[in-house]
Symmetry: C2
Subunit: 596 residues, 2 copies
């Protein structure tokens, strides 16, 4: 079975030494987020995840959620419900929610390490509270006072959980096609009718009630995505006074048999004259849903990160223990029957790829979380605006890169185990199967790429990119006299310049042909992700040097950064070449020529 | 459920138009391999695979092999045994085996398309006959007359199946560590004792007997890999007269719970004073095993190819059917609620990547098969030697690239389905899980890379590479006046030159530091694979132009080749940069700095 130990040292390094979270939290007015308190939260979170959630990961996969056709009930795997009760008792549910609604008001950036730990410990379990967070965000920003009082507080204290009901059998990405209907009732509520699929945490035995946030069409709604409204539809009806009543017309019709995350209930939810309450304005549901979705996208990025880290920990342990073959440059442990496989360059390549993408990716993800805090709590209008532009720009990068790297890292980790990685016993194949969902839900990688290229770069004229480039340039300037950083700063600067040029060239081509945007999007996103990571690795080395970390820690950061610049960053060359080749190689082939 | 249709048009194009198989088979003296006959075999093979094996793929995954602890028996999934009987009745088992042992004596290159079809139709099932082929090769080259009479004939006609028993719990790649013992009996046989793991087809209900080829140590054997001998150990004892006797001391102790290929029995096999017969010379077992392994490596490459093709077929169908969103350059099917997703550049990127790697990879794999035929049947000594050097050089490329590309293609295909790809219903996630084993067994990708770089390039001084480079140069010369080929020939020539330079530079660095070989190996292998594919794509365009294929077929080849050169071949840049960065970025990190 795979094991998990929360990477507290690197989490603290990322938060404090690189991102300066202590000063940031103070400046943003988080009085309760002193370093002492955050550290205590991290320690306690590590304990909970290592001892409660991580040991349930394997049984969650083996037993999975079980659906009862007669009752429509879903039973979660053994131990899941009890773990959720401990989670609620520990006050984890409302960690970063506002104090006025019963939360603990901690910064988002203090919450992400906990999120990462949960995903690493038990991704399938983590999806239950995750969906509550999305619903919390939507109610916070768009809910009426009574809806916040009744539903939001119950979500914040974990008494109930939430869902996001978007997808229907014929529409996923293209929500303009959705058919679920909502017709007004006399009492101000609506009768919701339709079928939703792929509803994570749609039914379970954790809580007495479930708060579904449902996209549906009002009778007079315009066609397409401009005619979608958002409704709160609880499993059990709830009055405006908060009193829980009879069962609503909401029923789980089936759960999916999936490649992984067997412990997550992925439900078909049927709404049959279900009582729902409009949230936000009519026909503005998609905008409200995007509030949830952006939070969720950052969160799914962390899922990739968490799985990558757990995979790496296990691959590293195995590579140190497994004796097989001898080093090409002479035996390293001549007293043993063979050397540990970590002596082999190719095993090191796989390990360092995981280490570089995981530790660098941690900064990518945590930095985005600090932006969420600045946007929400910054005193300065311009600072807030800049943070918002940058957050919008990095959100698809965080989502797509961290999840694709999660897939890649779990791949390498499994590969380090050889044939043993393919059998269930070691738990590596579960990590690979679980990781595979992350590049699909909350918008596939291709959708993230279009969001970045089409919306964040083209429509918003690269406002976020400019902030990022400014951040890189400021760092490079600051390090100009630092000989020890030169090996990183020089190539980083060159890449930043190339990034800007690539962006301009795509924009120019897009004037003549709109397909150039879509044709460049995927490679542009990964180009951006690798340059962003080069920045975070250079900053990591700089931050380590001036920190009080041990010499070994500093050396490890520098050596990993060297590996990253030498062997991962060159991937940008392939992406740049693909971008440069333009749309023709993708678009000129006739549909019939693809085959079959 | 995923469907499968044998890609006969492209198979024939590869065999006849590109590889000139008709003339080659005639020249090598395969009298029974006229185009008419081979075509009939392909048609009948397609029918068998599409109608018998492919429909069993899903149930094989769902039910899997079942182990009975009391009896040690393994029951294969419903329909598997019957399909095997049809396979044997159809004469497929001995298709490419020598006529003198009951085979049909067809060229290896006429057998590979069938192998590809089987792997695509039902990989898990295909592993049962695959292992027989390995045993067949070993007996053919190293067996005594009576062993060939008794065991080889039974394998060729499919009455019995074979296994390769190499791995033990503590040794996989490093067979020098193996502990299984063989002590001489009075009758000339040996008593074999030990435990083998990961034995594919180690136990099943297809046949009355199973022929295990087992690596073990004789009492006086030298330590390490020089003291390993090969033994035939049948499940039921067989006398030299071929009479089957009592049950041998061979028992399946368990089957593995795996990520995929659930329909393949992956067994722990316990040998308890089992009667075994030495095959080949004492202490030369590893060499004999390599005879099996090289065949098996090419065969596993084809597994990657077959899965990639099946995945592509289904992704393409879905991309044409699934309506979601509108083309960025304006609606393509305005009468429908949305455009099919194949209008989107990023979906095309994923599809064309699969198409380019699959059709190009088919030539890589089939070409290797023609080399097997030339090595075995060429009249000219020099031609045989050159073919042998080239075959040795391309074998690790075929194994590693086709399997890694198989993983990549099944990944893209699943991704084309969005969230639907993650659920079992569509069968895409099974293809991805099944593909994952192929980069692990018969030597991981890292082992293939070391075989290429360390043995085929360094030890054998690049003899095979020289043949490949000569082949490329001859083709480029031949096409010099052909304007229509210039866009491919010019970059191919440049890449071939760079390939040679890279090889020389690694060789120079390796003089000073043996770890440079291992540090370059992985990237060198993929660099080589992508240049090889560029060659096969350029040749495909050239061959299509002069063929009697339809204009649409010719256009499809040219457009796919353009995609390949524009968007896949640039991956070589990242690999070249990684190679150029040398061993330091991998080797300088202290083992303790990796973390944990």
């Amino acid at each position: 079975m795979s094991t998990y130990k929360a990477p507290l040292a690197d989490i603290r390094f990322a938060l404090y030494d690189v991102l300066g979270a202590e000063a940031l939290f103070a400046r943003l007015g988080f009085a309760d987020a002193s370093r002492d308190i955050v550290d205590a939260v991290l320690d306690e979170g590590a304990r909970f995840n290592e001892t409660v959630l991580a040991p349930l990961n394997r049984i969650g996969d083996e037993v999975g959620c079980v659906y009862d056709k007669t009752s429509g009930d879903v039973t979660t795997p053994p131990g899941f419900k009890q773990a959720y009760a401990q989670y609620v008792d520990g006050g984890w549910a409302g960690l970063t929610s506002p104090i006025e609604f019963g939360g603990q008001g901690m910064p988002h950036a203090a919450g992400v390490p906990l999120k990462e730990m949960i995903d690493a410990a038990n991704l399938a379990w983590g999806n239950f509270p995750l969906l509550s967070h999305g619903a919390t965000e939507a109610l916070l920003h768009h809910g009426e006072a009574w809806q916040q009082e009744v539903f939001l507080k119950a979500l914040v204290d974990g008494r109930w959980t939430g869902t996001m009901c978007l997808t229907e059998p014929h529409c996923g990405t293209d929500l303009g096609l959705l058919k679920t209907r909502a017709t007004p009732n006399a009492d101000g509520s609506h009768a919701v009718n339709g079928t939703k699929i792929f509803i994570t945490a749609g039914e379970h035995d954790f809580t007495d009630n479930i708060v579904h946030l449902v996209l549906a069409r009002l009778p007079d709604a315009p066609a397409g995505s401009k005619g979608i409204s958002l409704f709160i539809v609880p499993k059990f009806k709830v009055g405006k006074d908060g009193v829980v009543g009879e069962r609503n017309g909401v029923r789980c019709g089936a759960i999916e048999h999936k490649m992984g995350i067997h412990g997550s209930a992925t439900c078909v939810i049927n709404f049959d004259d279900a009582q729902g309450w409009l949230i936000g304005e009519p026909n503005k549901g998609l905008a409200a849903m995007f509030t949830m979705m952006n939070t969720a996208r950052l969160a799914v990025g962390l899922q990739g990160l968490g799985l990558a880290d757990r995979a790496y920990q296990n691959a590293l342990r195995y590579a140190r223990e497994r004796l097989q073959g001898r080093s090409l440059s002479g035996p390293k442990q001549p007293d043993k029957p063979a050397d540990p496989i970590i002596v082999h360059p190719d095993v090191r390549r796989m390990l360092l790829t995981q280490k570089a993408l995981t530790e660098g990716g941690r900064l990518l993800g945590y930095h985005a979380a600090t932006l969420v805090d600045v946007v929400g709590h910054g005193a300065d209008e311009q600072e807030r605006q800049q943070a918002d532009a940058l957050l919008g720009f990095v959100t698809p990068i965080v989502k797509a890169c961290l999840t694709e790297w999660g897939v890649e890292c779990t791949y390498h980790a499994l590969q380090c185990f050889g044939g043993h990685g393919y059998i269930a016993e070691h738990g590596m194949e579960q990590l690979a199967r679980d990781a595979r969902i992350t590049t699909l839900y909350e918008g596939t990688t291709g959708i993230q790429a279009l969001d970045l290229m089409g919306r964040k770069v083209m429509q918003l004229q690269g406002a976020g990119l400019r902030v990022f480039l400014g951040m890189i340039e400021a760092f490079c300037k600051e390090q100009e006299g630092n000989e020890a950083l030169h090996e990183f700063v020089a190539p980083l600067r060159a890449k930043a310049g190339e990034w800007q040029q690539l962006t301009i060239s795509i924009g120019q081509r897009a004037v003549a042909n709109a397909d150039e945007v879509g044709a460049a999007a995927y490679d542009y996103l990964f180009y951006s992700g690798y340059v962003a990571l080069a920045y975070w690795w250079a900053r990591s080395v700089a931050a380590a040097e001036t920190s009080s970390q041990s010499d070994a820690f500093k050396a490890a950061k520098r050596e990993t950064a060297r590996f990253y610049f030498a062997r991962i960053l060159p991937r940008t060359q392939a992406h740049a070449a693909a971008i440069g080749s333009g749309a023709a190689s993708l678009m000129s082939m006739d549909v019939t020529h693809f085959g079959g």
